[in-house]
Structures are given as structure tokens and as C-alpha cells.
């Protein structure tokens, strides 16, 4: 599903992550790592938000730099700690992203309903709690018809009911053929989510976890 070759990311000459070759197969994958290990850097690179050396190719067809628009149409990302302008509403932001990601009209309403943001989504972001902000970011992460969705710490700051909703949403979307890369400090094995593989990010690289 996702192939990474000769990946190298450094900040100001300081190496953060180096992946000579790695393939993520179909399914739901869990990426683990301590704080500062490079999980968000990896996700942002795969999402096309950070430049890097190397090649990231989706389904052997779309390369992040060679096919920037087609690739981004198929790869979504929801930030761990989103920051949005306080005076815009989730409605403004979601409508904009939905249009850019060519989301079907009914999809926005369905996601707003499933993640229960309908009560506040027309209020300015500045009035949101961290959980409301996180739900907004998650809705944006599911918009369009992606092949891969990356959710950075999707379960933090949201309540138990929302955790259950997110897990159900992931399971439902997976059944439709969408693949997931998830990062979390929380143990996904304690949720209903079925994971296909776990990866660990340490020593500035990523490898498949043994258990």
C-alpha cells in the first residue's frame, strides 16, 4: 500500500529519521514511539507537508513529489494537536477541506453526525475545548475518498464515547478499503480496533514490532 525508499529527514543538519526501505501493507497499522522519536515528522512527511530526501509511493502509482495533487487526494492526515485560527469555525475549515478533497456532499453531514460536532461546529474555534478541536481535526482527516488515512494520536483529549465512535469509524472505513496509519501512546489492543501490524519508531528508524 505504501512504500518508502531511501527516506531521510533532518532538521538543520540534525538527522531525525532514516528509513532505507519500508513497505506498509494493506490494513490498519499502529506506529509506536516515545515522545520526540519522530512520529509526527514521519506522518507529516508522508502527508506531503514536510520536504525530505527519498521516495514515498502510494499503491505503486502516486509519488508524493512527482504526483503532488493526485497523491494528496488519496492521503489524509489528522494532526495530534491541531491549531486553527480562533475566529474561524469548524464549519469554515471543514467546508474548505471537503471541497479541496472532493468529498461527496453527504459525507460532511455523516461525519459531523458520527463524531458529534453538530452542536458547536458553527461556533468560532476559539471557544472550543481541546476535545472539540480534536474532533474537528478528525472529521477533516476522513474527508474525501482517500486510500490512506493517518491519525496522529487520535484518542487523546476525547471522551470515552468519542473514542468508541472513532474506533467504529476506523473499522467501517477499513471495510470500504481505506488503510490506516495510527500513532498512539494508548494501547489500541484495549479498544475494539483490529490491528494488522504494529511498528516501532526508535533509533531514528522504523521497524516492525515483534508483538
Amino acid at each position: 500500500m505504501l512504500e518508502i525508499r531511501n527516506f531521510r529527514k533532518a532538521y538543520h543538519g540534525q538527522l531525525v529519521l532514516e528509513i532505507p526501505q519500508l513497505t506498509f501493507g494493506d490494513g490498519v497499522h499502529w506506529l509506536r514511539g516515545i515522545n520526540g522519536s519522530g512520529k509526527s515528522t514521519f506522518f507529516r512527511s508522508v502527508a506531503g507537508m514536510l520536504p525530505f530526501e527519498g521516495e514515498i509511493r502510494l499503491e505503486e502509482r502516486w509519488e508524493v513529489n512527482q504526483n503532488p495533487v493526485d497523491y494528496r487526494l488519496r492521503v489524509n492526515y489528522a494532526e495530534a494537536e491541531p491549531l486553527y485560527p480562533a475566529y474561524l469555525s469548524a464549519f469554515d475549515l471543514i467546508s474548505f477541506v471537503a471541497k479541496a478533497k472532493k468529498a461527496p456532499k453527504e459525507q460532511v453531514a455523516e461525519l459531523v453526525d458520527r463524531l458529534e460536532i453538530g452542536d458547536f461546529w458553527k461556533q468560532p474555534v476559539g471557544t472550543y475545548s481541546s476535545g472539540m478541536l480534536k474532533k474537528t481535526s478528525l472529521v477533516m482527516g476522513f474527508l474525501g475518498q482517500p486510500r490512506l488515512i493517518m491519525l496522529d494520536e487520535p484518542l487523546i483529549t476525547i471522551d470515552d464515547r468519542a473514542v468508541s465512535n472513532v474506533c467504529k469509524l476506523i473499522a467501517d472505513e477499513y471495510k470500504k478499503g481505506i488503510h490506516f496509519l495510527l500513532s498512539s501512546h494508548q494501547d489500541f489492543r484495549l479498544t475494539d480496533l483490529v490491528l494488522d501490524a504494529a511498528y516501532v519508531i526508535q533509533d531514528k528508524t522504523i521497524r516492525q514490532a515483534v508483538n
Binding site: 506531503g48 507537508m49 520536504p51 503532488p68 492521503v75 491549531l83 486553527y84 464549519f91 467546508s95 476559539g126
Partner: protein
């Protein structure tokens, strides 16, 4: 605490505005000699009616410093400033006055330099010192308001609440809500320059190059807004680079924002265009203005560290632009070249460029 406040509000002000001060020094003491300064303020001291021109310029500078303080209060990394509320009010006021004195140090230096040439003009000296004291003391009341009102609840907009705000208005919403002073000062300055050259034009044997120089200065004044737009996008709209927006959509949105941003100057120019000057010049100025902003913004997209060089861009842009205009380079051609550069970056470099991350 005092030391931390001073470093956050004063040292940081001078660090972030080093380019501005460089330009000010080069223009204010390079082009104008110190003898000219002395002659000018001796005249103003002898005829106090001329002093308000100085005071108006000083007030603009003081406004810039207060806008910076307000901006720092809103920075998530500077939230510790609100702890000042726990200090006794007298101590707080002393801190504000010290901070403002530090921020206005260049004005005080200039004002005292003026006073040293007073030659017994005590009324003028009193006016100069009163102005400086007022600019130092009065902002404390506003800083006190800032520290007492840490949470500003975001308000619902009043119009079209059931329609999403179009993306080309996001940055305008940011400017009006978060940086109104930057917007107003930029617009006042560029508008005044344009009206100034338009009114000056018929008074002597000038040609269109005078208007072009006005357009150059007004356009360069918008570099700060280009810098603000980059920071806005990379702080609050990081997800933009994950969106599959084709070149035409990305570039078209920025071009539309530019045309809207320069609408006041375009209208002013159309209104004050001197007799005998072709209306085509208005179009040329629009292309040039918008080109400067677009090129600067895309320069920042290429490499974020260029943000710190915005002052140098302003200075070199002014020098090269001035020379090119004096050699009769058509500003429409210069504007199209700037648009071309921005389009090239947007088409081929945007997604591979370095962002804040």
C-alpha cells in the same frame, strides 16, 4: 520577572525589527545628512507650529511598539506575561514605563538631540519633552488592560453564518481580528505615499517615474503583510500542504487576495491620477504592487529563514527598484517578472519547499 518581560517585549522588538531599523538608519541618516536633520529641527523648534509633524511620526512609531506588545501578549509562548497580574499595581506600572522607555529609546535619543539645539526655545523644548513623556507613560494604561483581560472570547461573525467563509477571506479575517494595526499602518503609509506623489506630480517637470517610485515604496511597505501571511498559514493552516489544490487554484487564490488587498490603493490612484497621465498607469501599478507581494510570499515559501531577511529585501528592493525606474524600466514589465517568479515557485517548488513543520 522584570528581566524576562524586558527581553520578551523590548529585546525581541529590536531583534524582530532589525531590518526596519537598518532601513531607517540608511534612509534617515544616509540619504538625509545629519546637517539636514539639524537644520530641519532647528526650524521646527523656532516655529513650534511645525513640531506636530515630528509628533505625528513619533506617534506612529509608538503605535508600532504598542502593537508589538499586544501581539506578544497573544503569543502562546508568551502566556507567562499574564503572571504580572499577581504583582502590585505600582510595580506593574513601573515595569510598563520601563518597557515603553526601552521601546522608545530611539525617539528619546532623537528628541534629546533636538533639545540640545534649542537655543533658549523653552516652549518647544517643553513640547518635545511632553510629547515623549506622554508616549512613554500613556501606553501603560493599555498594557494594564491587556494583562487584566487575558481571555478574549472569539465572537461569532454577524453575517452569512450559515455559509462557510471562502478561503480567500481567511487571511483578511486574520488581519482584521489579529493584526488590525499592522493593516491600518501599512495602508495609511502606502496610501499617503501614493497621494503624495500624485499631488507632487503637477508641481514641477516630473514624468511617470515619480509615480512609479511611489508605487515601489507603497508596494515594499506591504512586505510586512506578506511576512504575516506566511506566518499565519504555517501556524494555523498547516494542513494546506496536505490538500490536493492544483497550481491554478493555489495561485488564483493568492492573486485574488492580492487584488483585494490593493483595492484601496487602486481606488486612491484612480481618484488622484494627475491630469495628462494615462489610466493604463493604474493597471501597471496594480500589476507591480501585487507582483511585489506575491514574489515576497513565494520567496518565503522556498525557504522559511528568508522571513528574517525581510528588512534587507525591502532595502535592496528599494535600491534596485529605484535604479531600474530611473533607467526607465516599465513597472508593468517588472511586475510581470515578479508574477512570473511567484508562479514558477508555486508551480514547481511549493510542495517541495521548506515549511515550519
Amino acid at each position: 520577572m522584570k528581566n524576562a518581560v524586558f527581553r520578551t517585549l523590548v529585546t525581541e522588538f529590536y531583534r524582530q525589527n532589525s531590518g526596519f531599523f537598518l532601513i531607517l538608519l540608511l534612509l534617515g541618516f544616509g540619504i538625509i545628512r545629519s546637517d539636514d536633520h539639524i537644520a530641519l529641527f532647528r526650524y521646527a523648534l523656532a516655529a513650534p507650529a511645525a513640531l506636530p509633524y515630528y509628533f505625528a511620526l513619533w506617534a506612529l512609531y509608538a503605535l508600532k511598539t504598542s502593537a508589538f506588545v499586544r501581539q506578544q501578549f497573544r503569543e502562546p509562548s508568551c502566556q507567562f506575561l499574564y503572571h504580572l497580574r499577581l504583582y502590585p499595581s505600582m510595580q506593574r506600572y513601573l515595569t510598563w514605563w520601563t518597557v515603553q522607555l526601552g521601546l522608545l529609546a530611539p525617539l528619546w535619543a532623537y528628541g534629546l538631540w533636538m533639545c540640545s539645539y534649542a537655543d533658549g526655545q523653552w516652549l518647544s523644548v517643553a513640547l518635545v519633552l511632553s510629547c515623549l513623556v506622554a508616549l512613554t507613560v500613556l501606553p501603560a494604561r493599555w498594557y494594564e488592560y491587556l494583562v487584566r483581560n487575558p481571555v478574549r472570547e472569539a465572537r461569532n461573525r454577524k453575517v452569512a453564518r450559515n455559509r462557510p467563509l471562502p478561503v480567500w477571506l481567511f487571511f483578511f479575517a486574520h488581519l482584521f481580528r489579529q493584526q488590525p494595526l499592522l493593516l491600518v499602518l501599512t495602508k495609511l503609509f502606502s496610501g499617503a505615499v501614493l497621494i503624495g506623489v500624485c499631488l507632487l506630480y503637477p508641481t514641477d517637470d516630473y514624468d511617470e517615474r515619480l509615480l512609479a517610485i511611489g508605487a515601489l515604496i507603497g508596494g515594499l511597505a506591504h512586505l510586512g503583510l506578506a511576512q504575516e501571511q506566511y506566518v499565519f498559514e504555517h501556524r494555523y493552516l498547516l494542513f494546506l500542504r496536505n490538500l490536493p489544490r492544483p497550481f491554478a487554484v493555489r495561485f488564483g487564490t493568492l492573486a485574488l487576495e492580492g487584488l483585494l488587498l490593493f483595492l484601496p490603493e487602486t481606488l486612491l490612484l484612480a481618484r488622484y491620477l494627475p491630469e495628462g497621465v494615462s489610466a493604463v498607469l493604474v493597471l501597471k501599478v496594480v500589476v507591480f504592487y501585487t507582483g511585489i507581494r506575491l514574489a515576497a510570499l513565494h520567496r518565503f515559501y522556498v525557504r522559511e529563514r528568508y522571513l528574517e531577511q525581510v528588512g534587507a529585501y525591502g532595502l535592496w528592493g528599494f535600491i534596485f527598484g529605484l535604479v531600474a525606474i530611473m533607467f526607465r524600466l516599465d513597472i508593468a514589465i517588472a511586475g510581470l517578472a515578479l508574477w512570473g517568479y511567484a508562479a514558477w515557485v508555486s508551480r514547481f517548488r511549493y510542495f517541495a519547499s521548506e515549511s515550519a513543520g
